[in-house]
């Protein structure tokens, strides 16, 4: 090791060379000794940057790739500051970085996580200095080699260039750069005016491997001599195993063991242990394990009585009559305002229980012995996986290797580690590497769902047809239930500063705890995914009732044209700029032709929302063609701050728009005979190409503001914009999701 660089934020980047003469920057590992790696050029270095003497530049991407394009975007940020030649860049995923110094564990690569569109904002803070540090060393090395002042040099596409135009490639400088002592102080990132890569389109770095079938997902990996496990879990929430007959299963050639998984422990949090008791079949291959699992004869006892969505909704109505679990916000006096208001409005909205339905089902490949463990699983939050493995094995963190394969979707499902826990428990008992596979039915029947939510909205307007009062009461199952103290449960369900707070003088937000039978987990865009549906539909209803144009009504409310800078506590804050939201709404409306005359009978609908620091608006044009709901045109306008990779951002916005539509149309989990009824895509129809618009027009606002991320932002407004367009086209107001069943009932 030749030195370390203070990268700010109390992180130290380490600089060292390899036996091949490469320059390596990364691994701000406290007390970590790279010497054992020197001389082993082929090992993965888990470093941010490695420049080989031939100029090959390997950039490490630290966050889990779940389809949000993070590997590409993070590599572009580092490559930008490094002034790398993108054509020579190879991007490799990093493992979870952990090191122990004096008995204390440190996360060496920052918070490696795919949640809430946070990876890009974090990378923007942390990773620019990595590229800048490497570039600084190369400049120093060139200055020494050419015997000129470093200040007279500049860099471009993998080369150092002198004042006289002489060029030296990074490759030949790498070995010397690795031996240098870095300049004191944190590296200085480039001014934005010099960006060559950030803000320009880049295709997904894994594209070639994906289209040739060579990209390894967790489900595609094996160790030698690996057993395959398939688990039959108790179908009744809270139920237990009553009787087991595994004789038929064990008779099958290739079956090695039948093991049981105990019921969840009351002392452990939801999500870090198996979701249900189960019986596992271990076999030499998947087909044998699947057949043997089908031969198990199991009887289960039921848990507490289950509540269907209708029963939960009835409980919500009863709850609303009483005091809220938490009074989230109270401005002015809503009750008094409503009493004397010229106009009063009331509506109730519902969103049904839904599942994650990731195309890659939960699975995990585990190798564990007394000395070490390796886990390859689809994970969004590898830290919790490590903590789960640590708890189950007693191994110290640096003995646990958590790899981060590309993951076939996530949407919150892989923030849990229940399936990792199952695999580790089974592998420990079996004493062999083990590959756990969940079937599609397993994934539907044992999810951490997004259960029903009920929204009671009331509003008041004066004789100028201006809103004077607003009340939003929500009954839902907290995402934090079973995980954190009850006093905190409301935090995941309702944001006190979500609009229209700050825009209407008399406003009341309240939350009621509605315990569901099914376990709740994180879901794409968190509570924004349901709350924006209620809010944006209700605003639309009020605009129509007051005979005001829904666009103009919203813009006026948002304080058009200047807008207001409102304080925003929580993820996406500290400021919510209503002017930016009004601007994307106008862009979406213009692009769909809102103000033009629409003689074709099509319905036009709008919605806008502030999610995690991103401002997004949707505009849809729809019509009913017989018994088909056709989305003729779709626009998504977004202001997400600076865009690192516009091509990837567009993919995320289009994807979330379509996922939002697909979810809003037909997705619903129901309980039948005390258990989840849906077992496959046939019962839980994801929208196909034919069901969705052929294209989504994306309008991105150019911005120099700090990047906000992108993945979740276009999810919340798709459902309300659709419902609003359906109303405009059919005069039927749908207040429940999924929309399709309800529309058919009302039409």
């Amino acid at each position: 090791m030749s030195g370390s660089i203070d990268a700010g934020r109390r992180r130290f980047l380490q600089i060292f060379g390899t036996a091949t003469g490469a320059l390596v920057v990364g691994l701000p590992a406290l007390g970590w000794t790279p010497d054992e790696l020197i001389g082993q050029p082929l090992v993965r270095l888990n470093a941010y940057v490695r420049i080989e003497p031939d100029g090959t530049t390997v950039i490490g991407a630290r966050d889990p790739e779940v389809g949000q394009g993070i590997r590409t975007a993070e590599a572009r940020i580092i490559a930008e500051e490094l002034d790398a030649d993108w054509n020579r860049v190879i991007v490799e995923p990093l493992d979870l970085g952990v090191a122990t110094v004096n008995g204390e564990s440190h996360w060496t690569l920052g918070h490696q996580v795919a949640v809430g569109s946070t990876s890009i904002p974090a990378a923007w803070k942390d990773l620019r200095s990595v590229g800048a540090a490497a570039r600084g060393l190369l400049l120093q090395a060139a200055a020494a080699q050419l015997n000129v002042a470093a200040a007279s040099l500049h860099t471009l596409r993998g080369e150092v260039i002198t004042g006289t135009g002489r060029r030296v490639g990074y490759g030949p400088l790498a070995t010397a750069a690795a031996k240098l002592k870095p300049e004191p102080g944190p590296p200085v990132p480039k001014p934005a005016s010099q960006y060559l890569l950030v803000g320009q389109d880049a295709g997904d770095v894994d594209a070639r491997d994906i289209v040739t079938g060579r990209q390894p997902y967790a489900i595609d990996t094996w160790f030698g001599d690996t057993l395959v496990a398939v688990v039959v879990r108790c179908p009744y929430p809270g139920g237990k195993l009553a009787r087991i007959n595994d004789a038929d299963a064990l008779k099958l050639d290739g079956v090695t063991q039948v093991l049981s998984i105990p019921p969840p422990s009351a002392t452990l949090a939801l999500g870090v242990q198996p979701l249900a008791p189960g019986v596992a079949v271990l076999a030499r291959d998947t087909w044998t394990a699947l057949r043997a699992a089908a031969r198990l004869q199991l009887e289960w006892t039921r848990g507490a009585p289950v509540a269907t969505d209708d029963a939960l909704a009835a409980s919500a109505t009863a709850l609303f009559a009483g005091e809220p679990t938490h009074a989230v916000r109270s401005d002015g006096d809503f009750a008094a305002t409503a009493k004397r208001a010229r106009y009063r409005f009331h509506a109730e909205y519902r969103t049904a229980t839904i599942a994650h339905a990731t195309l890659e089902p939960p699975n995990a490949l585990v190798r564990v012995d007394a000395r070490a463990a390796t886990i390859i699983a689809p994970v969004q939050n590898p830290r919790t996986s490590l903590e789960t493995v640590q708890r189950l094995t007693g191994l110290s963190p640096e003995r646990i290797e958590i790899r981060l394969p590309r993951t076939g979707g996530g949407f919150g499902r892989f923030l849990e580690t229940d399936y990792v826990a199952e695999a580790v428990m089974l592998a420990k008992t079996a004493g062999k590497p083990l590959k756990l596979l969940w079937t599609r039915a397993d994934a539907f029947t044992h999810d951490t769902y997004r259960p029903l939510s009920v929204h009671q909205l009331e509003a008041a307007a004066d004789r100028h047809r201006t809103l004077t009062g607003w009340s939003h009461h929500i009954a839902s199952t907290s995402r934090l239930a079973g995980r954190e103290p009850a006093a905190r449960w409301w935090l995941s369900e309702m944001h006190p500063d979500d609009l229209p707070a700050g825009l209407i003088a008399n406003l009341q937000y309240a939350w009621y705890s509605l315990p569901s039978t099914l376990p709740r987990g994180s879901y794409r865009a968190s509570s924004h995914g349901v709350n924006a549906f209620a809010t944006e539909c209700f605003i639309d209803e009020i605009a129509h009732a007051l005979k005001r144009d829904p666009l103009e009504f919203r813009l006026t409310l948002l304080g058009n044209p200047d807008g207001k800078r409102l304080p925003y506590r929580g993820h996406g804050g500290p400021v919510l700029d209503t002017g930016r939201l009004a601007y994307v709404l106008k862009l979406a409306a213009d692009a769909i032709g809102w103000k033009q005359h629409h003689p074709n009978g099509h319905g036009f609908g709008l919605a806008c929302h502030f999610t995690f620091g991103g401002y997004v608006a949707h505009a849809f044009e729809v019509s009913m063609q017989g018994r088909r709901l056709v989305v003729h045109n779709a626009v998504c306008a977004a202001d997400l701050g600076r865009i690192v990779n516009p091509l990837g951002t567009r993919a995320a916005l289009v994807g979330a728009t379509l996922d939002g539509l697909s979810t809003a149309l037909r997705q619903r989990i129901t309980l039948k005979d005390g258990r989840v009824a849906q077992k496959g895509f046939k019962d839980y129809p994801l929208a196909t190409m034919a069901d969705l618009p052929n294209a989504v027009q994306v309008v991105l606002v150019p911005s120099e503001a700090t990047p906000a991320g992108a993945f979740d932002m276009a999810f919340p407004t798709a459902a309300p914009a659709l419902a609003n367009a359906v109303f405009a086209g059919t005069t039927v107001r749908v207040r429940q999701l999924p929309l399709w069943d309800e529309l058919m009932r009302l039409l």
């Binding site: 997904d204 040739t212 291959d285 076939g408 046939k682 190409m689």
Partner: protein, 174 residues
């Protein structure tokens, strides 16, 4: 000339009975000696470790395991080894040419960046290859006929990639 007597039956060694199922996968010949009811999906993934063909549902509803069997688009989860005996199968790994140059559909997927999580894309590409062979100029309705599922919402880029690939394939090579 005296006729040769048939050999004493006690000395006949019967030729070994050919057991197993012969299949050609991406031009290579394999013999499967195990359970004839083994689904092709698990033969590809567990036995041959051709993992580009994905498990998504197991009940023919998602299309992630789409392969070509004697040129026909089928779902590997619903085919047994017995079903494909003697047949030629192409998986995603077999689409590119031996020299590494990509099939025009694969190239179009890269050019349109039709990726997102990528898990369903192998199946989508196989379905698209089948479509552009059947319909060299696919209409939007033809493309709508592909019912492979994508949770991430890559459909518009898939649509563009299919149109692009079809155009490339209609243009004679220089």
């Amino acid at each position: 000339m005296p006729q040769a007597l048939p050999p004493n039956s006690a000395h006949i060694t019967p030729a070994p009975i050919r057991t197993g199922i012969d299949v050609a996968i991406n031009g290579q010949h394999f013999r499967h000696a195990g359970d004839p009811a083994l689904p092709l999906l698990w033969y590809l993934r567990d036995v041959l470790r051709l993992t580009g063909t994905k498990y998504g549902c197991g009940d023919v509803s998602c299309g992630a395991c789409s392969v070509l069997v004697d040129g026909r688009l089928l779902r590997a989860c619903a085919l047994t080894m017995e079903d494909v005996a003697g047949k030629a199968i192409t998986t995603i790994e077999g689409l590119a040419n031996a020299d590494g140059s990509l099939h025009p559909v694969q190239q179009a997927w890269i050019d349109e960046d039709a990726i997102l999580c990528g898990y369903c894309q192998a199946g989508q590409i196989m379905a698209a290859v089948d479509l552009v062979h059947r319909k060299p100029e696919p209409s939007d309705a033809d493309i709508d006929g592909i019912a492979n599922l994508c949770r991430c919402g890559s459909y518009p880029r898939i649509r563009r990639a299919i149109v692009r690939a079809a155009a490339t394939m209609r243009t004679p090579r220089k």
